[in-house]
């Protein structure tokens, strides 16, 4: 037997990931052994602490660029910044769950470690430099999300949502694996950089090109499913509506961020030379996504479902940055958009949670009637989120959208920028409808439940972030700019 060479492993490069995974595993045991039922909030606090520690551990890694595990995992500023964004998403999602779970009678200690595992999957997606690792990341994320979707299992809709998500998710995962197999067959590697070198250097034969393209197409489809690009978006409205609201919030930004981060790497490390093939496909999907998401939202009277459609539309705007990530402005626009969208959308979902009564499943527009009179803070915050999602200045959402449009326009996709501008013009309509209900109708129905601390913090942080980033985005831009530099090499 030949001597096996074990590739050197630098655990430092995956320190945040390591912290999240170990912490989550430990927390799962600590929770079952030491934390009594009824005091599960403690688990939540510990989970937040873990995510914060993971973020701090990442601090000294700023500026580090390197890969380990034989080049399967990569750390660069792009991945690190996204890691922080994902950790923030996790923290905000847990904060808004703290009181939601007991109120809905679905409090279980496992919830918090599961969110952490999902975050670890997202981080893995941002760091992965190998198709197998990306698959691992996507499955870690997905499987935890299947469970979380069905977390409110006494509720039929929740179970139904989990089932749908599972079936379709498995369907998409099948495409991913088959795509990997085809790509491996064509190039003899699953390493992104090696695939890229192979595709660039050699004059591909017809057969290999066909295999490679077929494989690439399947992997792209799997990512499109995760990121909710039309026509692979069908699961979104049902799943969001059925799952517990904080989970829907987490999913809306988490899956997009994770899947598209991986897509950026895949496209620009493995397949940059083939962009004549994938660019038209992705551009078409993006255009369709923006149209379907925004038009579909118009017909919705249920705010949670409307937000689900809006998240489809936003996937399209994120894609604007992804597709031109070969240029400096592309990944910048991508990270910035994900961050801003996370703040605004998590905030909007937090407001939904605040309005939710026990066991309630629907959030009709009428539930927002006269909210300004009843709870001015909530109404103003929701208005900020709606304007941000609609892309109205001076909110951060406008900055993000404008930047993404600029990136697409300059990256050679002006027609797509045009579609983006027009659809976002339409989008104003349904976000506005919420605002009208809040400010321009008399209150009706019973008053909303008392605002509690965790939610208040969430909403205030998200609203303040949305406004501040809109007015003074320069520091964030500086961060994003430096994160994007290392990419594409």
């Amino acid at each position: 037997m030949d001597a096996l060479t074990i590739p050197p492993v630098d655990l430092g490069l995956i320190a945040p990931l390591l912290v999240v995974v170990t912490w989550a595993t430990g927390l799962l045991l600590v929770d079952t052994f030491f934390i009594p039922v009824g005091r599960k909030k403690l688990t939540g606090y510990l989970a937040i602490a873990g995510l914060v520690v993971a973020g701090l551990v990442g601090l000294p890694l700023w500026g580090v660029s390197g890969s380990t595990f034989g080049g399967m995992v990569r750390l660069d500023p792009f991945a690190l910044t996204l890691t922080w964004v994902f950790l923030l998403i996790g923290i905000l999602s847990i904060t808004m769950s703290l009181d939601y779970l007991p109120r809905q009678d679905i409090e279980q200690g496992e919830y918090y470690p599961l969110i952490m595992f999902a975050v670890s999957g997202m981080i893995l997606l941002a760091q992965g430099a190998d198709l197998i690792v990306l698959f691992l990341g996507i499955e870690t994320l997905s499987i935890t999300l299947y469970i979380l979707t069905g977390f409110a299992y006494p509720r039929l809709t929740s179970e139904e949502a989990a089932m749908k998500y599972l079936v379709l998710g498995a369907f998409a995962a099948g495409f991913f694996v088959y795509g990997i197999a085809l790509i491996f067959g064509a190039t003899g590697s699953t390493r992104l950089s090696e695939i890229g070198a192979y595709a660039a250097d050699r004059d591909l034969g017809d057969t290999n090109l066909t295999l490679l393209l077929g494989g690439a197409a399947m992997v792209l489809i799997a990512f499109s499913f995760k990121a909710a690009l039309a026509p692979f978006h069908m699961w979104i409205p049902d799943v969001y509506q059925g799952s517990p609201t904080p989970v829907a919030a987490f999913m809306s930004v988490g899956t997009k961020g994770g899947a598209l981060a991986a897509l950026v790497r895949l496209l620009f490390e493995a397949l940059p030379t083939l962009n004549a093939y994938w660019l038209p496909v992705l551009a078409g999907l993006t255009a369709l996504t923006m149209v379907v998401g925004n038009l579909g939202a118009i017909a919705q009277m249920d705010v949670k479902r409307m937000l689900a459609y809006s998240s489809i539309g936003h996937a399209g705007y994120v894609m604007l940055g992804v597709m031109v990530a070969g240029e400096q402005r592309g990944p910048e626009a991508f990270i910035f958009y994900i961050l801003v969208y996370a703040l605004s959308n998590l905030g909007a979902f937090a407001v939904l949670i605040a309005l939710e009564h026990q066991g309630e499943e629907a959030w009709q527009l009428d539930d927002f009637a006269g909210l300004y009179q009843r709870q001015p803070l909530l109404a103003v915050a929701m208005a900020i989120f709606m304007f941000s999602l609609a892309g109205v200045p001076p909110t951060a959402g406008f900055m993000a959208k404008f930047y993404a449009l600029t990136a697409a326009w300059e990256g050679g996709l002006p027609w797509l920028a045009l579609v983006g501008v027009l659809t976002s013009a339409i989008a104003a309509f349904f976000y506005l409808r919420v605002i009208i209900r809040m400010f321009m109708t008399e209150p009706e129905g019973e008053p909303a439940p008392e605002l509690n601390r965790g939610l208040t913090i969430d909403i205030v942080v998200a609203a303040a972030g949305t406004i501040i980033i809109g007015l003074i985005p320069a520091p964030i831009f500086a961060l994003v700019e430096r994160s994007a530099v290392a990419l594409g090499g």
Partner: protein
């Protein structure tokens, strides 16, 4: 490279034709004289009563899951054991971490009462 796929293809064709050929042959060769009795689901035995959807006790699933843990364990430990001389201390530590993670899973399962037969 494509040659490898050819083998897959041959296997595929062989796998499909293996059961298909006898069935097709039988279809052409066999005499056809159906009677009501012959076309019933079971030619012998009692009439089927009740739902076809049989409900299993949920514990079976939990046991199946627990089994998977140990199954995976063995699958991964076997190559490690074979290559033990080569991978050395590094391999030992890696395998220990792996075992610890499985152990955590087992602990969790035990604590949650999944091992009790209710």
């Amino acid at each position: 490279m494509l040659a490898n796929y050819a083998i897959v293809g041959i296997f595929l064709v062989a796998a499909i034709s293996f059961p298909l050929i006898p069935l097709v042959l039988a279809f052409f060769l066999r005499p056809k004289r159906p009677t009501p009795l012959k076309t019933s689901t079971y030619e012998c035995g009692l009439e089927a009563i009740g739902d076809v959807h049989v409900q299993f006790k949920v514990q079976y699933y939990l046991y199946a899951l627990a089994f998977v843990i140990f199954d995976i364990e063995v699958i991964f430990l076997y190559p490690w054991a074979v290559a033990f001389q080569v991978v050395g201390l590094y391999g030992l530590i890696a395998a220990t971490i792996f075992l610890l993670m499985l152990f955590a899973g087992l602990l969790y399962e035990w604590r949650k009462g999944a091992l009790e037969w209710v």
